[in-house]
Symmetry: none
Subunit: 539 residues, 2 copies
Amino acid sequence: MTERLYLFDTTLRDGQQTQGVQFSTPEKHLIAKALDALGVDYIEGGWPGANPTDSEFFGTRASTRATMTAFGMTKRVGRSAENDDVLAAVLDAGTPAVCLVGKAHEFHVRTALGCTLDENVEAIRASVAHCVAKGRETLFDAEHFFDGYRADPAYALTCLSAALDAGARWIVLCDTNGGTLPAEVGRVVAEVVAAGIPGSRLGIHCHDDTGNAVANSLAAVDAGCRQIQGTLNGLGERCGNANLTTIIPTLLLKDPYASRFATGIDRAALSSLLRVSRQLDDILNRVPLRSAPYVGASAFAHKAGLHASAILKDPTTYEHIDPALVGNERIIPMSNQAGQSNLRARLAAAGITVDAKDPRLGRILDVVKEREDQGYAYDGAQASFELVARAELGLLPNFFEVKRYRVTVERRKNKYNQTVSLSEAVVVVKIGETKMLSVSESMDETGTDRGPVNALAKALSKDLGPYQACIDDMHLVDFKVRITQGGTEAVTRVIIDSEDSQGRRWSTVGVSANIVDASFEALLDAITWKLIRDHGQPA
Amino acid sequence: MTERLYLFDTTLRDGQQTQGVQFSTPEKHLIAKALDALGVDYIEGGWPGANPTDSEFFGTRASTRATMTAFGMTKRVGRSAENDDVLAAVLDAGTPAVCLVGKAHEFHVRTALGCTLDENVEAIRASVAHCVAKGRETLFDAEHFFDGYRADPAYALTCLSAALDAGARWIVLCDTNGGTLPAEVGRVVAEVVAAGIPGSRLGIHCHDDTGNAVANSLAAVDAGCRQIQGTLNGLGERCGNANLTTIIPTLLLKDPYASRFATGIDRAALSSLLRVSRQLDDILNRVPLRSAPYVGASAFAHKAGLHASAILKDPTTYEHIDPALVGNERIIPMSNQAGQSNLRARLAAAGITVDAKDPRLGRILDVVKEREDQGYAYDGAQASFELVARAELGLLPNFFEVKRYRVTVERRKNKYNQTVSLSEAVVVVKIGETKMLSVSESMDETGTDRGPVNALAKALSKDLGPYQACIDDMHLVDFKVRITQGGTEAVTRVIIDSEDSQGRRWSTVGVSANIVDASFEALLDAITWKLIRDHGQPA
């Protein structure tokens, strides 16, 4: 018999406190939709009245399976709950649930609110009672609960009881400053339960300031809490909130949680987790964290030679879960540490089967090694590695040939004495017997010069006749440049990460003493890889 | 009375298993030096014999206060420890300590080694005994220990006892696949101690596959382990190893650890933690993770209005530690008060004294903030920062002015059907009333095209009349490029490290959507900084 465990997402509220993050209303709608499809129980949409975007979001929200929640704070001392305009704005959002933050730490009551301890308890009671009377499911976020409990446990518990007695559905224990460690979280939650607040009414809200937000959340569940608050990709103020993208697969796939609890998320939704995580990064234009648990691009990358060869015998030797369960995949990167079994597995992942005895395997490793000596790096550039292997195996289609290019960057002062720059590229390409010459400049719609690589990419895709739609579907996500040693002298290594509308993401590498030429090489590889995926063979 | 807790760093060994990471030997030396200054107890340098860079590192290593450790594996079944060439290579590295990984999970013994359970126990015993007989402090890494203990606790414990009885100083419990959760780690370690392996001989080695590597390490210490293995910035295979950059401040600043344990790291070293963390990111050309606990740029950024105003009353309201303890600083977007003393210190370092009450300090902070919003980063570009400050203070000499430039990159096939490229730059500069126009190409003495930035640099220095000798004395040491966010869109950030014959080394930054233009800006800053140092004022 499983027990229900509730997930409360605050990506749209606390997640927006991340430095550099400011969601637009349409972005909030997109994220809410993704969260709802994933199956979280609550979506905290923002603080209506405190933030124009938040008010707009609530005014235009679509209906959700998840319980939409508006955030606010307990009424101010010196006025009634009925006459508090801040509280009124929260209720006016018309959500089925409201979450009110209030103080539970005597130091904060005195320092930040400047009222008596009793006045604060009464503010909590009256605010919760008012929301309950208005028919809302009410949550009470006990701010700084763990610090407050450490300083004055009796007062902190009094605050919780006031909210509970006033009808709050959930009492959420917040580690607002993120400084509490797992053992203490577990002990304090157990004491709260022992003091009479039932675990079925307790939530946990953690921050990652000591790198323990996930562990703290699990420790709270172990001790009785039945609601976890967190954000997608661990967004949030400072070091972020508890990362639901990490917690969800642990709850669904690992004991004791998997056999003990049920959540609103099923296995099908779990397999969309990587996609949801990437969608949020896309909206924020962030580079996804490669090392993220479960959903990181490296989360199932096996680089050590010993690991890679064991994985080939049995994936469970070095994998704690099957990567497909969260929509991820196994990667066996190529590097000069790797051997032939590793190589075959990597080729198989690209759909290329080679017999274990095939002498070309050794040749591919030799070419990879030789190119790594020249400055190439293939363990971060799987797509270029695949092209190297295909070339050796006679499986590299010749979609087009670049005969020559010329790119010019010019900077001068215009007549207003402003410095302006412009890049222009001419590319000559041969597709079959047809030679095509095209020119592009790098100016975007805002009049910004996007530089020589952009101009080259534009000229190139203009010229690719039958392949143009395929190329238009890809875009550059990241671009990394390093000066490195190629043989005896310094060369530039460029790594380009590309993405397409199908959510594919691939990396290519180019090396040259000339940065533009190195970039162009990586760009050509990126295009060729995509053409192989979409077209297979030349048109 | 405090108890000693040991820190074992494996950045150079397990950290090198990170996808995309391949340290050169000089980089390994730099990192070892930084780790030694920090005060870790053990530095695991690599696997001599398995990897040419690792062998070279051990052959050229400097002496360290930390115990230098070579990694290897237990001898193969079917040969004696004395005749095992892999083990011999490890001992030949001549380090005071060796760490041997071996199996402790019956499934892996059968699947990966293909020998009997007893043969594996004997391999552990004989290998450890051999290293001990050679006078080495010996560590035994019990691979897959937690999975093995779950499957067959008696056998897993037998493997540990074999190593202990053979004289291993440390038995390291490895959660190799990273799938074990904190509660289980704590329980199993307690059972291991109860079974007779003393906690003072136990180490813990965790991976972050469930986001719990830090919590697992702490749970192991709570249960008795007295050595923690991990890496700087949590580098490592898949999701990375336990992050020492996170664990160290927790151990030194937070109870129960701070009052209970002593480590080799003192408060002064702790305050260098952010710098050490950034140094590793610099070497790897990685963008530092803003949300990293303790050392992230956002770790003490208070964005929420309520938080920021409370922070001004008392920083402890929303900070779990004082950021200065780890070399970090508070960021309060609404107030630049906090930055002024820091700013004066940075100016003093450049030889510029400004009165604490000078209103221009506030203006400099505003300009820096505005430019950082555009994508500039001054943490790693002290020389460009100095120029920004000088401009505000009226202390920026006008040595020359670039009126315009044009650079062309051309790639084509030559008559031998070889692909050749050439870059050419025209630069127009005004020095005083004299206008000078010059052209250069990027071909070096070997006939290699060094690219557009090189051509620009050559054309520029040709033109700098009275300053030419000064410019000829500088050269580019490193060149780092990132795509980053400037306002609403992606821009290129270029950081150039320059060096001169006097051993000065300085870094400058340029930002533009156009990579050539960003490079040119950083180059101009580098030249201007050098001219200020050598000439002071225009000739």
